[in-house]
């Protein structure tokens, strides 16, 4: 062992000119955000830098907090749906479905088969939108503008189809307690199949542009690494967890809707770095497309909502034609669905991971409590540890691939 007095090799090297002397540096505190193009929403990070290396990082969130839970406690169970759209605004139907499922769990309500298929189809289409958005944004921030254009084209085509289905481009609102809001328009299935073909072409272009791209590989491989054990310890779910090698996916671990009737694979990474997280997303795009096509083949005509008059609005002819129908409609709209008292936790696989809803009902028409386990929360929480000792420039792709969505993280 070297003694303290021994000169280190660096000190021993003779400094021939002042230009060769090591540049004296001191640690610097830099504030990133809350309003910064690379901070995706409004997150503030205070970073301690030594040159370009990050030594310590503190996150400050809440700039987008809008009291989701408090608002939900003060509206009827049905009126919560529009609020859930704004949780993860890139894939809103996934949130709709997650919330509808917790209410159905409390009510003990079974939904018809066709509704399950429709929910699965729209969920998977939105998962594709989410992954396209992420990959596009990542490309843009690593300097590949074309990728953004391709990804936006694919995403907006998918959004166009969802607009035809539920009337809104961004905050699509499709699921209802007991089923979905409306059946498919005429010729929609064929249109979606053409859109999927187009999105496959876009995906392949992106794949060609990025996956073997030297710059992307250099920026993403080995950066933003988290180990499998740490990822579980932090509560990672979704693509970020699977990139570390842990194959947990709610769709396989506890299948809901029709995920046990369709065939699909769960891609798993090995390194837990940015590149693996990106590859998983590309692979999941393929799997989602597979699921949608299988659902089209399996789906049969039928009811799209449950007919339980306690929880579901009666059909319009009954509302206008019979006194019972009019009364049932009035009661549900004015008082809300009377959900039996109790508590339940329900979870679905959203685009970023396990999206859980914890609901408590006191038997009234409004949620007594509605907690959201937003998947992005855990990933953002771990960011300071992931970035410890890495370069500041690596923060950008890492921030992209953990896919923090302000809407759900800051509620």
């Amino acid at each position: 062992m070297a003694k303290d007095t021994d000169p280190s090799p660096l000190d021993a090297a003779p400094v021939e000119s002042p230009l060769d002397a090591p540049f004296p540096s001191k640690r610097m505190l830099v504030n990133l955000g809350p309003s910064h193009p690379a901070m995706h929403g409004t997150v503030r990070a205070v970073v301690e830098l030594d040159g370009e290396t990050i030594h310590g990082m503190k996150l400050d969130i809440g700039f987008l907090h809008r009291g989701f839970e408090k608002s939900c406690e003060n509206v009827t169970w049905t009126q919560v749906f529009p609020y859930t759209d704004r949780l993860n605004y890139v894939s809103s139907i996934l949130n709709n479905v997650g919330y509808a499922m917790v209410v159905e769990k409390l009510c003990g309500l079974e939904i018809p088969d066709r509704a399950k298929y429709l929910r699965t189809i729209t969920s998977e289409m939105h998962r594709m939108c989410d992954h396209f958005t992420l990959i596009g944004a990542m490309g843009l921030e690593l300097g590949a503008m074309t990728v953004l254009i391709y990804a936006m084209e694919a995403r907006d085509l998918l959004w166009d189809r969802l607009t035809e289905l539920c009337g809104a481009r961004l905050t699509s609102n499709y699921a209802r307690v007991g089923g979905v809001s409306r059946d498919l328009p005429e010729g929609w299935v064929e249109k979606v199949e053409r859109t999927l073909d187009h999105s496959v072409a876009m995906r392949n272009e992106i794949d060609k542009l990025l996956t073997r791209n030297r710059i992307v590989m250099d920026r993403c491989r080995g950066t933003g690494v988290i180990s499998r054990a740490d990822a579980i310890d932090y509560g990672f779910t979704g693509p970020c967890l699977r990139a570390t090698g842990e194959p947990y996916d709610v769709r396989k671990a506890s299948p809901y809707l029709v995920y046990d009737r369709v065939e699909f694979d769960i891609p798993v990474g090995t390194n837990g770095d940015n590149f693996d997280r990106y590859l998983i997303r590309i692979e999941e795009l393929k799997q989602s497309e597979r699921i949608v096509r299988q659902c089209f083949a399996q789906m049969e005509p039928g009811a799209i909502t449950s007919d339980d008059p306690r929880f579901v609005l009666p059909p319009k002819p009954e509302v206008y034609g019979t006194i019972e129908g009019a009364m049932a409609h009035f009661k549900i709209i004015m008082e809300g669905i009377l959900v039996p008292p109790g508590e339940a936790y329900s979870y679905v696989e959203a685009a970023n991971g396990e999206l859980g809803f914890y609901a408590v009902s006191d038997g009234g028409g409004r949620p007594y409590k509605l907690g959201v386990r937003a998947p992005g929360w855990n990933m953002l929480m771990a960011l300071p540890q992931i970035m410890e000792g890495q370069m500041l420039a690596d923060l950008i792709p890492t921030f992209d691939t953990v896919n923090m969505i302000g809407g759900e993280v800051e509620q």
Binding site: I61, G62, H65, E69, K70, K105, Y234, G235, K369, R373
Partner: protein
């Protein structure tokens, strides 16, 4: 499936687990005493038959009229065994302090800060006990049932807004 986990927990901590049952929709729930939560969580994490390795989802509920007033919810999952349980921990209003579990799962950090911010439940031993969403100057805890829906505490003076543009609910706070 997770009924076995609850049974094992009850056998190990007969005094700390005050009840168990199944909630609506079939979730397995155990009621745990507040003093024992650290011990119980460590056991759940480390026991080879339970291995609840994933960081739990922690939230709180304000049952305003009942005693104890608050309840903490720990929603656990094990990636090794693929089972889930939920712990419910009563917290009295007079002494709203619970041991932190951040030493057991790192991922408990922000959930506990959330419970402090929104419900005013403090976590003894938490390494960074700041508010999560609200600013430090904020007074009170917004998700308590006695915090009014439209209670506003702007740091800067707000533009006057016509009353009819505001949502429903009482003003104040």
């Amino acid at each position: 499936m997770s009924q076995a986990a609850i049974q094992r927990l009850q056998e190990r901590f007969p005094a700390a687990v005050t009840g168990a049952g199944v909630s609506r929709g079939g979730d397995d729930v155990a009621l745990v005493k507040r003093e024992a939560i650290g011990e119980v969580c460590r056991f759940l994490r480390e026991d080879p038959e339970l291995v609840f390795d994933m960081a739990p989802y922690i939230t709180a509920v304000d049952y305003q009229a009942s005693e104890p007033r608050f309840e903490l919810i720990y929603q656990m999952y094990s990636t090794k065994k693929n089972h889930r349980i939920r712990l419910r921990v009563g917290v009295p209003e007079s002494d709203p302090v619970v041991d932190t579990v951040t030493g057991i799962w790192k991922g408990a950090d922000w959930y506990e800060r959330y419970c402090w911010d929104m419900y005013g439940i403090r976590f003894a031993g938490h390494p960074d006990p700041r508010r999560l969403y609200m600013y430090e100057e904020f007074v009170g805890h917004p998700l308590r049932k006695d915090y009014s829906l439209r209670g506003r505490q702007p740091l800067m003076p707000e533009r006057p807004v016509d009353e009819r543009f505001r949502g429903p609910g009482p003003t104040g706070g």
